[in-house]
Symmetry: C2
Subunit: 354 residues, 2 copies
DNA sequence: TTGTAGGCGTTATCAT
DNA sequence: ATGATAACGCCTACAA
């Protein structure tokens, strides 16, 4: 029965209770081998009785580092990022580290605040999905000795290790597939080019168009979403329909699956059948297969990316600062499902299906 | 250009650089009003130049509390919990607090580790979705002066404030609806009864059956899922089909939407049409409406629950320990979609399909 | 094997 | 308005 507001016990309290010195208590906690069995048991009993929990702040102050690693992602509601978080958390857990997870909402100001917090608490390492190309604060953090790994940021900052996926290749995969299915006009629902993911997937889309012998300016249209999520995708489609007499795009490449889900929903709400609009998403979320129209999507090794990032962090902690940073680049894969199958509208000749 | 491994500057460094005392630096940082304009600017310049970031561990040690609140949820991959996290984070942000988010995976051991970390770092408060009924550690934490709020834990622990949703009512809503649609035999895909959510929704299901004049033992079957997620739901259905000659349950109540998504996927993979099995989920995830078969689901005010929890935390910090703890209980609502519409199979008479 | 003492960086108290 | 100084709780030499 805890009594009310008892002040938290310190090593001193434990030492007194066990009739030993603080040094011995500290040894029992951190290097039990260095203490004789009898003393150890006596001290442990006192620890249990007083419910002593070492003060992390004091320990952090003394040792100069917090037993946790910080992770900043762009959007905590996107399953893509929580899956990454799992990878990081699991790898960190193997080393006895906890995870501090925060979401920047793609806002550089929020990102700054979060990184300041991590810096202030001297976390053991930081994994960051940058909200812009301005990684100054991260470089700075690394310069001060905190291991930092860039995640999902493709243009490598030489000083910082990074884990990325080839987003240009991913964009190409998606649009090549749509064009191969018969589309002649692709609309990409994209986010701000401040994000390299958006920029690169767009560049990939353009390359695919050129590779097909078409000109990007005529065969490819970019529509910006307000937010890179289902609501943003839905709003973009509603606006499109309003400006095009209710006529949907011929084919749709969405910068991620959430946007695609929103887009499909908006088409349906407008009385259209989303299955009639060939569509490709990105991230291959677990639920992509379970949607009204199972979604063709560009897959990334999400969990692995998280694990790898944590692993790079570990390596970096050991290595000396002059060593070249490792840059991992994964390749995306296209997972084809019903959403991109040529539908009635796209069949060039022959009898209409059904 | 940060130079290599420069040790992190301290108040002392700043004080020396600005030609003032450490106390003044501290004042500039924390109570700028108490410092004359001239000194303030001089000190601020030094802070900027040296890129001084106050050491959070030292501050924590001195003030006895970390400017963050800890949140433990059951499964970070479940959008239900990330939405809650958003609510907590937003409310915390209003008070200048950050969020430490961790996932217990419903594992009491993991939960213990996480709470120990929070305790060790003396977070400003803890919001926890308990992984079992054993909330001893939370009570203990509260006893030591850390504000604690229970989330989604219905049997109120008197000493601890809580935010909950009436899960019994939710279970009733779901099953009453299925029975009303003509089902005579309902299968509930449920998680471990160690979780009150599962226990209470099951109890609600039983009540609904009794209210309909049926006996729970004959009209209601519980099937346990291995994990409360899509994989668990899918596995449970696969097993069911194997034991029932490929014949699906007459009607399905899933303990949450993820399980329902997995169940629907498994039915489809078995060559069945999920639309033929009336189905109700729980949580009303944003994507419930976008599924192959739009999912009827019991809705909870997710974001609000998170915000309310953070709010209770704040109140608790002010109040004295003897004051009665607040217990918020929200009411769930049923959102009806296509998944629960009576289908062919349920028509009492008529020729067998196929 | 165990005890003693100094210092990590901050804030807060008390002088000036 | 500013400066000096004593904690906060822990770890770790070093001494016994």
């Amino acid at each position: 029965m805890p009594r009310g507001d008892a002040a938290r016990p310190s090593v001193t309290d434990v030492a007194r209770a066990a009739g030993v010195s603080v040094g011995t208590v500290s040894n029992v906690v951190n290097r039990p081998g260095k203490v004789s069995r009898a003393t150890r048991e006596r001290v442990q009993a006192a620890i249990d009785r007083l419910q002593f929990v070492p003060n992390g702040a004091a320990r952090g102050l003394r040792t100069g580092t917090l037993a946790a690693i910080g992770l900043v992602v762009l959007d905590i509601r996107n399953p893509f990022f929580t899956e990454i978080a799992r990878g990081v958390e699991d790898a960190a857990g193997d080393r006895g580290l906890s995870l501090m997870l925060a979401s920047s909402d793609q806002d550089p100001t929020r990102e700054r605040r979060i990184l300041s917090l991590f810096a202030a608490h001297a976390v053991a390492g930081v994994v960051a999905v940058p909200a812009s190309d301005d990684v100054f604060q991260l470089v700075e953090l690394a310069g001060r000795g905190t291991p930092v790994v860039l995640l999902d940021h493709p243009s490598p900052v030489e000083q910082l290790p990074s884990v990325a996926v080839d987003n240009v290749a991913g964009g190409q995969l998606a649009v090549r597939h749509l064009l191969g299915g018969g589309a002649e006009q692709v609309v990409m629902l994209n986010g701000s080019h401040r994000l390299s993911q958006c920029r690169d997937r767009w560049e990939g889309a353009r390359r695919a168009v050129r590779a097909a012998g078409l000109t990007p300016d005529s065969a490819l249209t970019e529509v910006r979403v307000g937010s890179i999520d289902a609501a943003g995708g839905a709003a973009a489609i509603e606006e499109w329909l309003a400006f095009h007499d209710g006529c949907p795009p011929e084919a749709l490449f969405c910068v991620n699956d959430l946007v695609a889900i929103g887009a499909a929903g908006a088409l349906r709400n407008a009385g259209l059948d989303p299955a009639d609009t060939p569509m490709v998403g990105y991230d291959n979320l677990e639920l992509a297969a379970e949607l009204a129209v199972p979604l063709t999507s560009v897959a990334q090794p999400t969990y692995e990316m998280g694990r790898s990032a944590a692993e790079l962090l570990r390596q970096q902690a050991g290595a000396d600062a002059a060593a070249p940073a490792g840059h991992l680049v994964f390749q995306p894969e296209l997972v084809v499902r019903a959403s991109s199958r040529p539908s009635r509208r796209l069949v060039p000749v022959g009898p209409p299906r059904l």
